[in-house]
């Protein structure tokens, strides 16, 4: 079930990227795809009826823990995603200062 949500998020993000022209909305679309992928990663480690993977806090008698590696991976991916999003937004700001528009269809100094 969570995988369906992930694919839905990725599809929504891709749809945003293909349909919207506003640069900020493009960045939002990428973030949505990113969230979909991250959700996918973190749900890979889910184990039904398991406890949080904290070694020292595990209640007595708990036999199963959620798989912690995907959480570490997701965290890294989130950090990287944050860096790319910040960089992209910075470029959007600069582009707006130079060209006075956020319409991707008009920001076409480089073509042909």
């Amino acid at each position: 079930m969570p995988f369906v949500v992930c694919m839905l998020l990725i599809a929504i993000g891709l749809f945003t990227l293909l349909v919207r022209r506003n640069l900020i909305k493009l960045v939002i679309g990428i973030t949505i795809i990113e969230n979909g992928v991250n959700l996918f990663l973190v749900s890979l480690g889910y184990v039904r009826n398991a406890v949080a993977p904290i070694y020292t806090y595990a209640p007595p008698g708990a036999s199963r823990m959620v798989f912690p590696t995907p959480q570490a991976l997701t965290l890294t991916a989130i950090v990287i995603g944050l860096a790319t999003t910040a960089l992209m937004l910075a470029f959007v700001v600069v582009i707006y200062r130079h060209q006075g528009t956020l319409d991707g269809g008009k920001i076409r100094e480089l073509k042909g």
């Binding site: 640069l23 991707g104 920001i107």
Partner: protein, 109 residues
């Protein structure tokens, strides 16, 4: 050391260079055999462009006009290609999706 084998082909740049130098030398020797009609200080020294005498201030065919006929002949193709490079970010993403789709399709087969 120098050559590379490629299955059936043969490529050795040292041999090639020596051959090229030999051919150049041969051409030079042939050229030396010709009649010498060149005279200094005559019309022969004047630069011509397509049979026309060059204007005084000189003239330079700019790079963008080189191969004009070739480009003109290919114009439909090149115009299509230029129109394809729209510079619109949405198209970039669209083509990435197309490449992805083709890749997945081929892998699935």
């Amino acid at each position: 050391m120098s050559g590379i084998g490629s299955g059936e082909g043969f490529w050795n740049p040292i041999v090639w260079t020596l051959l090229a130098l030999g051919v150049l030398g041969l051409a030079y020797a042939l050229w030396l055999q010709g009649r010498r009609t060149y005279k200094r200080g005559t019309e022969q020294e004047e630069p011509f462009l397509s049979g026309e005498r060059l204007p005084e201030e000189g003239s330079h065919i700019r790079g963008e006009h080189l191969y004009w006929g070739f480009v003109a002949g290919l114009r439909p193709l090149i115009e299509t290609l230029r129109a394809f490079h729209t510079g619109f970010i949405g198209d970039y993403i669209g083509w990435l999706v197309v490449v992805l789709g083709v890749a997945i399709l081929v892998v699935m087969l």
